[in-house]
Amino acid sequence: MFEHAALEVSPAVAARLPGWRDVTAHLRSRPGGRVVDVLRSAERAGQPVVQPRCGVGGHREMLALLRALEPAGPAVLSVTIDSYTRLGQFAEAARVLAEAPERLNGYPLVAHGWQRGRELVAAVGTPLEVRHGSPDGRDLFATALAAGFTSFEGGGIGYNLPYCKNVPLADSLRAWRQIDAVCGVLAADGVIVDRELFGTLTAVLVPPSTSIAVTVLEAVSAAREGVRCLSIAYPQGGEIHQDVAALRAIRTLTARYLGAHVEVFPVLHQFMGAFPADPAWASGLILYGGLVARLGGAAKVVSKTDQEARGLPDATANRRGIRTATVGASSMFGFVELDESRVAEELSWIEREVAELVEPVLGAGDLAAAIEEGFRSGRLDIPFSASRHARSSIIPRRDAAGAIRYADSGGLPFSAAVRRRNAVLSDSGGALRTAGGDETGEMAAMVHDISYFSRRDAA
């Protein structure tokens, strides 16, 4: 029976779990190595490590998948969770698991139970992270802790707005505050659980400052709960100067808003939007992502595969993706130098935009309430929100160079200077767009920008 004052776990799940002391004792034994150690050594080496996404329904199949991927040399492996478990529909996950595990799009860890989780951790020498997308990740977190995972992804904003329709931010923020609080307790006790924040959000045309503003707010909240190790993920947008600047901004901005007592590891998610279907373009984009990660100083890069546009990758494609990302992040491409003044210019604007977004919120007494109110009023916002609890009245657009700008910043409290720059740059992209199909104007432009890489499909 799992019990910790800081964490409300649903009784049915808690009943199946071992006690807190067993859980912490097991974690302290570091069964599968710790993610934090891997990240620290990546930082020292100045070369990002690679992590794939991977999760299948069956337990035996999941063990086989982890073992199949390990030889490709990832430094962290994932247990990607299925959609039912993410949404807390554990019974539905268990039903499909019983009927046809191959029809689940991830590993239903809660349905499998923590003992099997320990088997996963023990199966490979590479430490594991749970990747999911649960607005309320508490039951899953308790199970993952009991299993001995040393890294857990998610946050009250980034795992709500892109991942469900109608969970109030107050609820998700509260759930994740509890998770962070437990990590804080563990950290105080020397047990470091890496908490990764999903700055990727809805993945498609996410302006860097939107991504970073959200993760900064989550990071401050986590740090206040005692979290000491944060991985902060940013999704590759496609314009390298902007992307490199964004990764660097994660360091400068967390230094500014968190202070030095929290370790921060910038993470690059390789391009998360519509992927090219052609394997050669897809591989090129994966290599490109590795390159961006290294130049941006990311500690980790989460790899895609050349089957991304088609469906969940098989192990072979996933291995290839890990290897291709590794090559892209290697010294083979060490000759690539960027126009540093352009990066610096992007960096300063990202810093400014993030400051304009987060400072009013951080200034408020109750952070969670301020975040909720921000999204309600539109002073915080994300594009393409899956949730009703963000307005999605911002309109992102690529500029002539491919960088993502706010064509319309909706209700965001941007200064006139920020608005002006975004308007000018957004307009610069217009000339490049040829109307797609029978759509016109706004819609054609949006489709064009979404398809930035996926258009590259011809032989």
Partner: protein, 145 residues
């Protein structure tokens, strides 16, 4: 923009376990641009919610469901039951990424047809023509039997 004499309504949404929002929002805009009134139920919409919406909006011509996350079959699992109860008696049009994995089989689509899905589209551009065609050939209660 084209306008129509009579307002045409469709119900749109994303399957129960699926949070992919982008295509949903683009299709919404696309249909509005073609003169449709779109009742967009958004992501993570169980079939019962589609059925309730149709009860609220009996004039809707069709129910458009997107599924990207590979769970189409599981998420539409209860379609026969609902239809058996006389609900969702409107053409169900399905689109997206309809099975798991990178190597698709026609059996994946057959299975969905057997659940009672009336039309499976690969391409959003085929949507309006299909809706026009369905209106011309309209036999409202023929679906899902």
């Amino acid at each position: 923009m084209i306008t129509f004499e009579t307002a045409r309504t469709v119900i749109l949404g994303v399957a129960a376990s699926d949070a992919h929002a982008v295509a949903n929002q683009l299709i919404d805009r696309h249909l509005r641009a073609h003169g449709f009134t779109v009742m967009n139920l958004g992501v993570c919409t169980p079939l019962t919610e589609f059925a309730d919406a149709l009860d609220d909006e009996p004039g809707a011509e069709a129910v458009l469901i997107g599924s990207l996350n590979g769970h189409a079959y599981e998420d539409l699992h209860d379609l026969p039951t609902l239809r058996g109860r006389g609900r969702l008696r409107r053409p169900v049009i399905l689109g997206g990424n309809l099975s798991l994995g990178a190597h698709k089989q026609s059996a994946d689509l057959d299975r969905l047809h057997r659940l009672g899905v009336d039309h499976i589209l690969q391409d959003v551009a085929a949507l309006v023509p299909l809706l026009d065609m369905l209106r011309t050939a309209r036999v409202p209660v023929a679906h899902g039997v």
